[in-house]
Symmetry: C2
Subunit: 237 residues, 2 copies
Amino acid sequence: MADIGAHSGGRRVKNGHESLATSPGVTLAESLRQKLEGAIAAGHLEPGSRLDEQEIAQRFGVSRTPVREAFRLMAANNLVELRGRQGATVRSIKAQALIEMFQVMAELEGLCARLAARRVSQAWGAEIGEIHQRLVAAGETGDIDVFYDINQEFHEAIYEASRNSFLADQTRKLRNQVAAYRRRVTRMPNRIADTVREHEAIMQAILAHDPERAHSAMRDHVNLLGDNLLDFLAAFE
Amino acid sequence: MADIGAHSGGRRVKNGHESLATSPGVTLAESLRQKLEGAIAAGHLEPGSRLDEQEIAQRFGVSRTPVREAFRLMAANNLVELRGRQGATVRSIKAQALIEMFQVMAELEGLCARLAARRVSQAWGAEIGEIHQRLVAAGETGDIDVFYDINQEFHEAIYEASRNSFLADQTRKLRNQVAAYRRRVTRMPNRIADTVREHEAIMQAILAHDPERAHSAMRDHVNLLGDNLLDFLAAFE
DNA sequence: TAGTGCCGTTTTGTATACATATATTGATGT
DNA sequence: ACATCAATATATGTATACAAAACGGCACTA
């Protein structure tokens, strides 16, 4: 079975349990949720793999109760699938569902961009410019994991700039749902160069306060990524 | 405290417990979720009111465990708020958040309409026409609860017609989140007549296979409803 | 040999008991 | 009288025990 947190610097405490950020005031269920969601997004837990209550409970040195509650919380974010009396599995997304999700995501991210174009300030321009420069630098270095993270920062900045926190939340959640699949795409041939170019178009439209152009630029960007992702998956099936 | 299910024909079984659909193969937590979500949507549970684990457990004659799990599941749909060690409350949506939610909902329902316009068949035209006729009839009768339900049917038909089940799901969830507030608006002066007129515009655009017009007609419809809702709330604050 | 039904094992669902954090209340002091 | 602090009470979080359903293997039969 997948080794949760093995790559995320997860060191085990002396009694053989994975360490759980044991800050006071935070429940075990919530800590578990964060850990497990991180493991899913990072791809350490394969989509479709079963989540064994007892195993996870033992691994983290807690009882089944907080583990079960964490599963329910994760179902909130559509990251696990609960089938009554048949356990929990990491949600596996079929190609058809991915198409549907990207269609929605394109629209939501497009809305973020449109609102950002209407509401954005001068200071924000400097901020996004700085992020973009770092993205370009990472692209030239070829450090894919860094590129992935900065890319995320770029989109996050636009979520915030939309000044609609509900929209930002929804979009973020959707992004997290496809994260496990998405990460693989970054490694595709022209993806990095394309991303940089597309981001520039989005940035220009927003800074020019052109909502419609910002909307369509962002929508195209997300759709292209979706197409790439489907191409990638098709190569495996 | 709010009387769960008092208006939904909720009869109590002999031992004083609310009846839970006790079909085999369905867990108590899931049954509870359905019951409670229904009570929230119907307005029998006030937004902001606290959900007491013990009380609900006693009311339905179960232990706290399935009640807690039901709370976690409901948090999935953003219908309850869980604050660590401070219990669960029915999510209360502030005016600002409602504005944000309607902005997103307008976009999502607009996307449903756009896709429907592209994909809809002849047979579907008959179906939606039949629903609309019933809506008009209910409007003339003035039976507001029936009108509300048929209105929901109309929108649901468009969700399905989009042929994007993920989008349909997201939109439905969002609709459920604001349901408790929305229901009150139906009683506003011109809302019924306006709704009928707006639905006609949407229907025509979809049946004419005009995606852009369908999109904007639906978006306007949702936005107008949102405006009405805000007017309504403003009258109370 | 393939299929079917039975039985034991495993895992999930629920109840209950216990630990701990938060809220409330009352006493005390200024 | 009001504020503050402490002790108690209440509710949530977690652990464990028990019940029941699903899974798997095996024997039996056609």
